[in-house]
Symmetry: none
Subunit: 191 residues, 4 copies
């Protein structure tokens, strides 16, 4: 009779887009960009291959959108971690980090993979580098307040620790003693 309403269409589109982006995220986080074909994504999303091109101009475009969404979502506001007590703030940062690793390892893996491998997605590197700089400056200031002798290098160590623990969890998975390390690091830096 009458065509679908604009709202109906909007909802349909939003849902399809979501299914596609979720499928892309899942598969690319697991297998990497090159190993994940459009066909696999469509199958995982339970739509036709053609439909992907209704929503994205290309595979690359689709992944960029997916990445941007993931980055936005993963972007915790530093302000939310701040406290009057520097030790408290450091504890918050550690706790935030370990929560991330536990709950969003897929996201972590995705970023790591795309950052390392694909020339096309090098913009992620830049964003990641900026974010890291921000955290390093925060930690430096906190460690300074706590009287560390070389707060900059100590902050760099903590940043490297985060990256390194991330990598090791990806390799060792459940075998990595996340709880123990969390407790140990908080004790070490916030005692």
């Amino acid at each position: 009779m009458s065509p679908k309403s604009a709202i109906q269409n909007q909802e349909i589109r939003a849902e399809s887009k979501r299914k596609i982006l979720d499928a892309a995220f899942k598969l690319i986080a697991k297998d990497g960009y090159e190993s994940t074909s459009i066909a696999k994504i469509a199958k995982e999303a339970e739509v036709s291959k053609g439909l992907l091109y209704n929503y994205f101009n290309s595979k690359e475009d689709m992944v960029k959108v997916m990445l941007e969404e993931a980055l936005d979502e993963g972007d915790v506001l530093i302000s939310g971690l701040l406290s009057d007590d520097p030790k408290e703030t450091i504890r918050n940062v550690f706790q935030w980090f370990f929560r991330e690793i536990r709950e969003r390892l897929d996201y972590w893996r995705l970023i790591t993979q795309l950052t390392f491998n694909i020339e096309k997605f090098k913009f992620v590197q830049e964003l990641a580098a900026n974010k890291m700089g921000e955290y390093i400056r925060l930690m430096q200031s906190l460690l300074n307040q706590l009287g560390y002798e070389n707060p900059l290098n100590e902050a760099r160590i903590i940043a490297a620790l985060f990256d390194g623990i991330g990598v090791e969890v990806l390799v060792l998975k459940e075998q990595y003693p996340l709880d123990e390390m969390e407790a140990y690091l908080i004790e070490k830096y916030c005692k």
Copy 2:
């Protein structure tokens, strides 16, 4: 022409194989596994595509051999780093690590890429995990001798630091303050 002797043939085989594996390493470390075609490897190695299949059953097989070799070669004997003085040994380990990062970043990148992305090469993860365990046990023993309260966790921290610095150097490249961090860590752990 006279038939080549068995020894000559063996030498020829060894050299061709070497050229192929070197080319594969170079290109895959730079561009990644999926982006490196057999044709490119053959060209870089200055042999024909067909010859690759004379030495390896498949691209996957070739890369596995290349990886195994690379892992063997990268396998520094722990014994070579040992000293009577635990502080000296720790310094040796740190120096070895930073030398690795400086001189063989390609190797590092290669391992990281293949390990994270390609289901086919996940066996590297296991090898890497074993190796890491070995180093952690060594560090644990050394830190124990130096009177650290929790030498296991402290050793884990150093292992994560190594991984993390590796990742950050891959992202930041020359911008990463390698020299400064090396000096700082040696001072911190071996003073």
Copy 3:
């Protein structure tokens, strides 16, 4: 809302059909049959893709209808060019031809393209051949009245001239000396 009357519906249908056919003509004359997608035509016509299939069974069918219309419209009645004076009639024919070339080059290009390239639209060739035969017979009769020795072949020459000038204008566009040729030919045949 009240149901539309039959007449209203008819008007609506006619208008939609017109918009679609006009858009198809415009785009296909400019870009060719294969390069003009249904989506583009729908967009140009400001209707939905689905609506096209309400009026036509297929892209091919739509183009056939469009072509038939275009041919009908381009079908100048010979009777309108006739005069008592054969020279006057020839002048009318020449002037009609050059007017066509100037004002409806798009139409010309469309026919040429579809006729030459697309197996599906070869039926136009037959129509064109019939039309050409008609004109040749007319010219033959006129040239006969003017005392030409071989009026049939001379008429054939004029027909070929028309086709040839059409081709050259398509290739050379504004560079072709249309005005000069028109004057020259009229002078030559109607002096």
Copy 4:
């Protein structure tokens, strides 16, 4: 045992290339560029689709090579048509043209199609326009020697005649009275 000799390979390559280009010529001349898929060309040439890309970078590239070859081959040297007697030269030109039309109508159709339709191959238009200019200048000079009042426009008429007869032969095929027109035109211009 030993690999194929360089000469063998060269011959094999030349033959495959030839088969591909011939198939492309044949099909594109018949059906047009867009309607002729790589798959059809490969089938006609009796090779695999992949092989085409061993010899050409893209479909467009392949067609350009094919066109350039065809244009080279079709490029009759004007010098070969010249004679001391202008009438004799004109006769040679006419005879050359009708021989072309009789023997290489496919070539003619191909050029016409690509010239009209495909933005990608517009370079053919330019070449064709240049060639035509050359012939027009030649005819102009000859007609001038024969005392024609307006030799330039008369030469333009002959050029258009050639194009027009070409088009009509494409449409009417065997029905077109080629022999009669050839005799008539030679009689008309060279009597």
